[in-house]
Amino acid sequence: MIDEEKISVKKIREILESVNDPEVPVLSIIDLGILRDVIINDDEIEILITPTYSGCPAIDMISMNIKLALIENGHKKIKITSVLSPAWTTDWMSEEGKQKLKAFGIAPPTLKQQICHTELFHEGEAIQCPRCNSYHTKLISQFGSTACKALYVCETCKEPFDYFKCH
């Protein structure tokens, strides 16, 4: 039996702050907005998560790491449920998460309504270089090293960089 006094959603969330995205290791699943809810049932903790992209290969590892983190903290009965709707969006990324991304060398996503459009050959908002802060940057490809990133190059410092694209 779980001691009601000890377990609170707040405590569980604190534990989950230590679970990072294996592909963007500076971000926790809370920074990314992958963690959707924590439900404490009678003797079970249910964690609701949502994938960033349908084919995101990190999601299985994230589920496992959530379980491990909770087990290490003495919780045994854990259920992980994947929810698809509402669909994940970069707007759920925390401000703290965006700062961490930039410090890591990845340009953080701009607000969704500013750039998500289907107009062809259109680069949208200028993306700031995470290294030299120049806005003089160029899109190389909408698809990058992982599903959630696009490839850019800075025309000022000439460095290529990843942009966590809006979604």
Binding site: P51, Y53, S54, G55, C56, P57, V83, L84, S85, P86, A87, W88, C116, T118, L120, F121, I140, S141, Q142, F143, G144, S145, A147, L151, H167
Partner: protein, 255 residues
């Protein structure tokens, strides 16, 4: 229930087979950025396929005692049981053919998922809502490439024209509903595909115009195969032979 299962498997098969085809480019793309792009699109499609297969497996398990999982659906069915449209199984050919196949299919999937988001089946609606965001990128990318090739050099123009000749014959099937699609549309959990045709044609017309490509004539013989009923081209068997070999030779092996 049989119709709902087949409809879900059909959506899954479309995504899996095109995802597999695209993945054949991984390591062989014309330049590294485009190799990465087509591999990312493959990954999105295989992810969508997994979501549909997992749901289909739940539906089957609820109605029979058969132990069915996403893996048994992908790896242990034969070509005649696959319900994907014939467009997605066509060979990669050159870059122009791969691009055009992606453009025709992404445009179709874009309008399909827009409608499927409103399905009265919560699961199908959720998968469509999620997938639509990804398909928006696929459609944009493939549209730009059709324009680049059509309005590019004499060689690129010639190649994409050949691709149009090869693939146009597969596009009629997309808008001709088979039995399970009709039932799905009537019951409100699926989409009436015949209604997607005008939007799709308009999209093709716009992109072809910008690409300086002549629009193919709509003909009676625009359907050569009917993969949605298991009547596939000869190409599907080869894909399955490669994709299923390991599971069939070493049953239940895992990564």
């Amino acid at each position: 229930m049989k119709e709902r299962i087949n409809y879900t498997i059909h959506l899954a098969d479309n995504a899996l087979i095109l995802g597999h085809r695209n993945s054949e480019w991984t390591g062989f793309g014309p330049i590294i950025e485009q190799d990465i792009a087509i591999s990312n699109i493959a990954l999105d499609l295989i992810g969508q396929a997994r979501n549909f297969y997992q749901y289909a497996a739940t539906l089957i398990s609820n109605s029979t005692a058969e132990p069915v999982t996403e893996d048994t659906l992908a790896y242990l069915r034969d070509a005649k049981d696959f319900l994907n449209c014939s467009l997605v199984e066509q060979t990669n050919g050159d870059w122009a053919k791969t691009i055009l196949r992606q453009f025709f299919f992404s445009a179709y999937q874009f309008y399909l998922y827009q409608h499927l988001q409103n399905s009265n089946d919560e699961k199908l609606a959720a998968i469509a809502e999620k997938s639509l965001k990804e398909v928006t990128y696929h459609l944009r990318w493939s549209s730009e490439w059709v324009i680049r090739l059509g309005d590019g050099t004499e060689e690129s123009n010639k190649r994409i024209l050949t691709a149009v000749d090869d693939l146009w014959i597969c596009t009629g099937e997309l808008f001709e509903a088979t039995g399970f699609e009709q039932t799905a549309a009537n019951k409100g959990y699926g989409v009436d595909v015949s209604l997607l045709k005008s939007d799709w044609m308009q999209k093709v017309r716009d992109i072809f115009e910008e690409a300086t490509l002549p629009l193919p004539v709509e003909t009676e013989s625009q359907v050569k195969w009917f993969g949605k009923e298991g009547k596939h081209s000869e190409h599907l068997g080869y894909i399955l032979a490669e994709m299923q070999f390991l599971q069939r030779t070493y049953p239940n092996s895992e990564w």
